[in-house]
């Protein structure tokens, strides 16, 4: 339980709100990414990097991380308040999410002093961009089968193989890498090791892949006899699977520790409803149409259930029935409901639903169309919804594999 007084929290909230209001950047005049998975140009990158640096310098990022590594060592409640205010003021995202949200907490919780000292501050400042090398062309959901080879050679490991869907692979300085050190291991999981690997070395070649939106954001990343120092190994050889699973816990929001900041542009159902004020159906306001009203109410309830679920997860006696079902299902619930909401937003636009970014008549510049296409990043990335359902069925309900 947080020991921070309500008064302190309110005062802090006011302070952050004032800062956000004063420092929220003006519209840069080019399309900004709606999430960290859509950083496709240097222009976008520079803008976002500057913003993250500013937020961190102001003291609103990594607040609960240790002081000596660029944080402030304060109660996590302050970071949640800062995040809420960022959301409320609809400021840009803190784009270095794989560092801030996954690699960072991992290093904080499991890393050595040397690793913490070396990596954490650069994650917060935005100087060191991180990417994640888990998925491979032939092994996605079946991550335990990853085949990229890391062969020990003296003080180095030699990497050969291919990773894919590497978000920000072309901008990153470091990669959290899952690689196979022992192809002969009896269990496929035991042959895996985990690396904090540099990207800017010879033999690493990230090639951008165009996404369904037409934009860029991830790469196919080729490793050809790429040599990295043996000290990049995290933990010990053979512990890769365990560490990767821990990383996914942060990624799916099932475990705390993230530095904070927004990973996604706030897209609230209120914005959708407000945007529909002038839309008509059958010659009358769409918001008066009984069928549409019912769909909106169902959508509002879905979103509200997510928020209430988060509240209830913090109340012990109300979580004894299916322990951990709320945190473990959070990703599935949230991402699926987001996807449905954004599709509904297109549906409700009438003929304008058929327009896209670039058409001058597109409603809000095609914002919802782009947002809907992008929503699949969260229902596929980080473990697909179907795989999430398997995990919940097996771990919470105890159903067989």
């Amino acid at each position: 339980m947080s020991q921070v007084s309500e008064k302190e929290k309110a005062a802090f909230r006011q302070q952050v709100a004032a800062w956000m209001q004063a420092n929220k950047p003006a519209d840069p005049g080019f399309l900004l990414p709606q999430s960290f998975m859509e950083v496709g140009s240097e222009q976008q990158l520079d803008f976002l990097r500057e913003w993250q640096h500013k937020v961190w310098s102001a003291g609103y990022l990594g607040m609960a991380w240790p002081r000596e590594y660029g944080g402030q060592g304060v109660d996590p409640v302050f970071q949640s308040i800062a995040d809420q205010e960022m959301r409320g003021h609809a400021v840009p995202i803190c784009f270095n999410v794989i560092g801030l949200g996954w690699a960072g907490p991992l290093i904080n919780d499991m890393g050595t002093e040397a690793e913490k000292a070396r990596y954490l501050k650069g994650i917060l400042s935005g100087e060191d961009i991180w990417c994640q090398g888990f998925s491979e062309p032939d092994h996605g959901s079946d991550l335990g089968n990853a085949q990229l080879r890391a062969r020990r050679d003296g003080d180095e490991y030699v990497l050969n193989g291919t990773k894919i869907w590497t978000t920000m692979g072309n901008f990153a300085k470091y990669m959290i890498l899952l690689a196979r050190t022992n192809p002969e291991a009896e269990r496929k999981y035991d042959g895996l090791s985990f690396f904090l690997a540099p990207m800017q070395v010879a033999g690493v070649d990230p090639r951008p892949i165009r996404k369904l939106t037409g934009e860029y954001g991830f790469t196919e990343t080729f490793f050809t006899d790429a040599r990295i120092p043996a000290s990049c190994l995290m933990g010990e050889e053979g512990q890769g699977w365990k560490i990767a699973m821990q990383t996914l816990q942060y990624e799916r929001g099932a475990e705390a520790g993230a530095a904070g900041g927004l990973a996604f542009v706030r897209i609230a159902i209120d914005d959708m409803i407000a945007g529909l004020a002038d839309v008509e159906r059958d010659g009358a306001p769409a918001l008066q149409d009984p069928a549409i009203r019912d769909q909106l109410v169902q959508m509002i309830m879905e979103e509200k259930a997510v928020v209430l679920g988060d509240r209830r997860a913090g109340i012990g006696p109300l979580t004894t029935d299916y322990p951990f079902s709320l945190p473990l299902s959070n990703k599935l619930r949230f991402t699926e409901s987001t996807r449905r909401m954004r599709q509904l937003a297109i549906n409700l636009q009438g003929a304008e639903g058929g327009l896209y970014v670039g058409d001058e008549g597109a409603r809000e510049g095609g914002f919802w169309q782009r947002a809907y296409l992008n929503s699949f990043s969260a229902t596929i990335g980080g473990g697909t919804s179907q795989v999430q359902a398997n995990i919940i069925a097996e771990h919470i309900l105890g159903l067989p594999k």
């Binding site: 409803i273 009984p290 019912d294 909106l296 259930a305 679920g309 509240r311 209830r312 299916y322 079902s325």
Partner: protein, 375 residues
């Protein structure tokens, strides 16, 4: 203000204690064998178990101490109904509690407290509310004229057990409540319903010709507001009960999926069965969140708009959840699911009764649309 609105959710130590006691009690007194034994009984509940509930003070839990109650508020009763739903335990508790709330909220000044005192002491009571199959009907058809009732009431919950009826009627186009003792309602004017949920009992009652003394009539604006509130409280308590039932329904299905084999594998390993179970789990989780959120917003006074929104969401969610859980429970038990012997039918049947009572999901969503979108 966001349309998501109020998201308060708290659970008091009192509630937690009541939940523990209620769960243990319901599990012990209402094992499946007892539930089944009661299905074909006249009363539909075991008087000895009801007496124990009375002894624990449940009927008066939400009534003021001055009337012999525990003064805990309706929020304290929510975990009790969830626990009863879990164990499919029936009886006159919900009917009595709602009748008590209706009288309490409608009363002004020095009205006659007899019925309330009786309810707090554990004498069963019920509300005669429905004139037709339409939960959304504005007009009350049952009339009170010169102290005499005229009209037929449908689906009066636990009417056979009730010793007091709170009859919702209209007098000069204004709603009134007539408090009628069971002795005034002859057997001949009562017809036993056959309910799809055989764990419950209800009657249709023709009140025509029954005389009501002046002290036994409640009038005025408080009646209108009390009726509004009690319809919402009924929806909430049923949502709590349905949430409990949906959870045990899910457990029943999951247990079967862990034991039944086909094609050499446990059927629970098939994703066509597994994934819907996860959907049900998430719906059960949502139901609980809505139910306890609504409980958090119930004050002692008339329900405010946030509480109304919360009660309606709870009922809309719970109804759909139990319907889905019951439906899949039957399907996932295969031929066994089609039998009387399989417990899946109990949940499926209950779901059909619960979905309509105090308004179905579209009924509440239609009102939610107004509350959320027309501001």
């Amino acid at each position: 203000m966001s349309v998501i609105g109020n998201t308060a959710l708290r659970f008091s130590e009192d509630q937690a204690m009541i939940m523990d006691v209620a769960r243990a009690f319901c599990a012990d007194r209402s094992p499946m064998a007892s539930v089944r034994a009661l299905l074909e009984s006249d009363a539909g509940f075991d008087p000895a178990v009801w007496q124990e509930m009375v002894d624990m003070g449940w009927p008066g839990m939400t009534l003021p101490e001055a009337l012999g109650g525990a003064g805990l508020g309706v929020a304290a009763a929510v975990p009790v109904f969830e626990a009863m739903g879990r164990s499919l335990l029936g009886g006159p508790l919900m009917a009595s509690l709602l009748a008590g709330q209706l009288l309490l909220r409608a009363q002004t000044g020095d009205a006659d407290d007899n019925a309330l005192l009786a309810i707090a002491a554990g004498v069963p009571a019920t509300i005669a509310l429905l004139d037709s199959a339409d939960w959304g009907a504005e007009r009350i058809r049952c009339e009170l004229q010169d102290g005499v009732l005229r009209g037929v009431k449908q689906q009066v919950m636990e009417a056979a057990a009730a010793e007091w009826f709170v009859v919702v009627a209209q007098e000069h186009n204004a709603p009134v409540l007539a408090v009628v003792p069971a002795t005034a309602v002859a057997r001949a004017v009562r017809r036993d319903h056959v309910l799809i949920d055989a764990t419950r009992r209800a009657q249709s009652i023709d009140f025509t010709g029954i005389q009501v003394s002046e002290e036994a009539v409640l009038r005025g604006p408080a009646v209108t507001s009390a009726l509004h509130d009690v319809r919402l409280l009924g929806a909430l308590l049923l949502a709590a009960e349905a949430g409990g039932s949906a959870a045990s329904c899910l457990d029943t299905t999951v247990d079967y999926l862990k034991t039944r084999k086909q094609f050499g594998k446990l059927i629970g390993s098939y994703q066509a069965l597994k994934h819907p179970c996860v959907d049900i789990l998430m719906a059960v989780d949502s139901t609980r969140s809505f139910v306890y959120h609504a409980a958090t917003l119930l004050g002692e006074d008339a329900l405010d708009t946030d509480a109304e929104i919360a009660c309606r969401m709870a009922k809309a969610q719970a109804t759909e959840t139990l319907k889905y859980a019951g439906d899949r429970a039957v399907q996932f038990h295969g031929g066994m699911g089609f039998t009387w012997e399989c417990d899946a039918q109990l949940y499926l049947r209950r779901a059909q009764w619960v979905q309509q009572a105090f308004g179905d999901a579209p009924h509440h969503r239609k009102r939610l649309a107004h509350l959320l979108l027309d501001r």
